[in-house]
């Protein structure tokens, strides 16, 4: 038992939160190992934020336990909080303070020494492209700049575990990528990251394991690829021609169960992708059509997500 606690940086047992009659989080069990990037996915209102708030000691669970690096968050919240960085879903920096003063305030709250604080603040501001604005009040920042600052603030204490609740929501492509790169950098140096997101591709790229939660219950926890294999079944061939082709014009292709239009592309769900491709090529030759793109698609994390969350309805 003792050594398992060392391996699992986060251990959650039967964690439950009731809001009046509603079980926002319903007896969930989660274990996150050291150095993992763990994704926590679920539709709106599934209970992600509530879970993160309990894991970070912001609200008290109705029942169940949370242990952070072997420390019970209820019994010694200050010691547990000391080791983590938190980016809440709807948080803000102090808009009347400068970026620099916000970072220094965080350092003081976590008891970081002055020298370390100065050095770390400089590094983080450089990394997030905010150094030039460090003495400006946060009120003058754009949404993306604020979000980057908030993430920088959560890193001031050099945390072992980082909780990110929808860190890239509403950000432009560059900023979102910057944040994803930062997650990967932290992963490289062995930090543990607990991430919630609505972007499946993001979870797919970053996470070694994901949990899918719906109505406060966990539908599945596994590595993304394993989840995809688990729902497995049909593969899909996606094709587009240089001329519009209607679904009904296509010949009967053996193995194809369903054909759907998807933008300017056709998706053929098939049990025999190889044969389907041959027949598509034959079809294009005999009709003088040029194939513009041809891809085989395996189930995405999004497919897994839709399937699992629909199953629970």
């Amino acid at each position: 038992m003792g050594c398992r606690i060392m391996e699992n940086v986060i251990e959650v047992k039967k964690l439950t939160k009731y809001y009046n009659e509603l079980a926002a989080v319903d007896h969930i069990n989660v274990e996150v190992g050291e150095g993992e990037v763990f994704g926590f996915l679920g539709p709106n209102g599934a209970g992600k934020t509530t879970t993160v708030r309990m894991l970070t000691g912001i609200i008290k669970p109705s029942s169940g336990t949370v242990s952070i690096m072997g420390i019970d968050i209820q019994r010694d919240p200050i010691k547990a909080k000391q080791m983590m960085g938190v980016v809440p879903e709807l948080s803000n920096a102090y808009t009347e303070l400068s970026a620099w003063n916000n970072l220094q305030f965080m350092a003081e709250l976590y008891g970081v020494s002055k020298i370390d604080a100065r050095q770390r603040a400089e590094e983080l501001l450089m990394k997030f492209d905010l150094y030039g604005r460090k003495d400006h009040k946060v009120r003058t920042f754009s949404k993306g700049m604020k979000q980057k600052l908030i993430i920088a603030m959560s890193l001031m204490n050099d945390p072992e575990i980082l909780f990110l609740d929808e860190p890239t929501s509403g950000l432009d492509v560059q900023s979102a990528r910057l944040i994803r790169d930062m997650v990967l950098d932290l992963h490289k140096v062995g930090k543990t990251i607990f991430l919630t997101t609505h972007y499946m591709e993001e979870a797919n790229q970053l996470c070694s394991r994901v949990a899918i939660i719906n109505h406060g219950k966990i539908a599945a926890i596994d590595a993304p690829e394993k989840l995809k294999r688990r729902i497995g079944g049909l593969e899909c061939v996606e094709v587009s021609f240089d001329m519009p082709v209607d679904v009904f014009d296509l010949p009967d292709i053996s193995g194809v169960i369903d054909i759907r239009m998807s933008g300017d592309k056709l998706r053929l769900y098939t049990s025999e992708p190889g044969r389907t491709i041959y027949q598509l090529v034959d079809y294009s030759r005999s009709n003088n059509l040029e194939i513009v793109t041809l891809n085989t698609l395996t189930p995405t994390l999004e497919d897994v997500f839709i399937k699992l969350t629909e199953e629970m309805e």
Partner: protein, 245 residues
């Protein structure tokens, strides 16, 4: 313990930077007592040291209680609270930080009536007792402000309204305009329930040399109110914090 104290100071520093210049703080903390005082004093023939003592206690009362009630609702509204709740500080530490900021404001502004009093020739007979009393009262009233700010709302005006409804009556029952000794017995009983009575009495003692209560009672009562208010504030905030996120 020391760590938490340092962190409380960091919170106080942040509060000083952000909240001292906020509208409600200036209005309710500085302008309000001045006008209230003028309204009562003009046209009446009362000794200057009696008046200065009353003005001083009222200033501490209003200024120390003007910062703390603003902080929690504002931080609820600006969504800074969850960040703070995620940090390794207890609720007591957060409240202590807010209280420190409020105390410094109260002490700073109360220098104004003291210095103006001295400028027109009022002498302070017991400066050390006065200093100790001011600090103690500032803590006591800041803690009282924390009780109001535990209302789970993001509307500063709501908190200000509630606190004004309590502050006003207290000013009238606390012997500021009429000495406690001259009140009828029910008035005296009422006065003994208000913390403001004791700091007013302490100020009178410091300026005029005599007060209604023994000085030990004044200090003891202020201490007792401080402990009660602080304990209540911590309990109430523990309960209301999750409702503000």
């Amino acid at each position: 313990m020391i760590d938490q104290l340092k962190r409380a100071c960091a919170i106080a520093k942040k509060d000083v930077r952000i909240y001292y210049l906020k509208g409600p703080v200036i209005i309710f903390g500085v302008l309000f007592p001045v006008f209230l005082f003028l309204a009562f004093v003009i046209g009446r023939d009362l000794p200057v040291d009696f008046l200065i003592a009353g003005l001083l206690s009222m200033t501490i009362f209003f200024t120390s209680m003007s910062v703390t009630p603003v902080i929690a609702p504002t931080e609820t509204q600006t969504r800074n609270l969850e960040r703070l709740a995620a940090a390794p500080v207890s609720i007591t530490t957060i409240l202590l930080g807010d209280m420190l900021a409020s105390v410094l404001f109260g002490i700073g502004i109360s220098l104004v009536p003291i210095l103006s009093g001295m400028a027109i020739g009022v002498t302070v007979k017991h400066p050390f007792i006065l200093a100790a009393g001011i600090v103690l009262a500032a803590f006591c009233f800041s803690a009282m402000g924390l009780i109001f700010s535990s209302t789970p709302t993001s509307m500063t005006s709501t908190v200000m309204m509630i606190s004004t409804m309590v502050k006003f009556p207290l000013v009238f029952i606390s012997g500021i305009f009429i000495p406690v000794g001259e009140l009828p017995s029910w008035g005296r009983a009422l006065a003994s329930l208000s913390p403001l009575t004791y700091i007013t009495d302490l100020c009178r003692y410091s300026f005029q040399g005599t007060g209604y209560y023994p000085i030990g009672v004044d200090i003891g009562a202020l201490l007792l109110f401080l402990v009660i208010f602080m304990t209540a504030a911590v309990k109430l905030h523990e309960k209301s914090l999750p409702e503000r996120l």
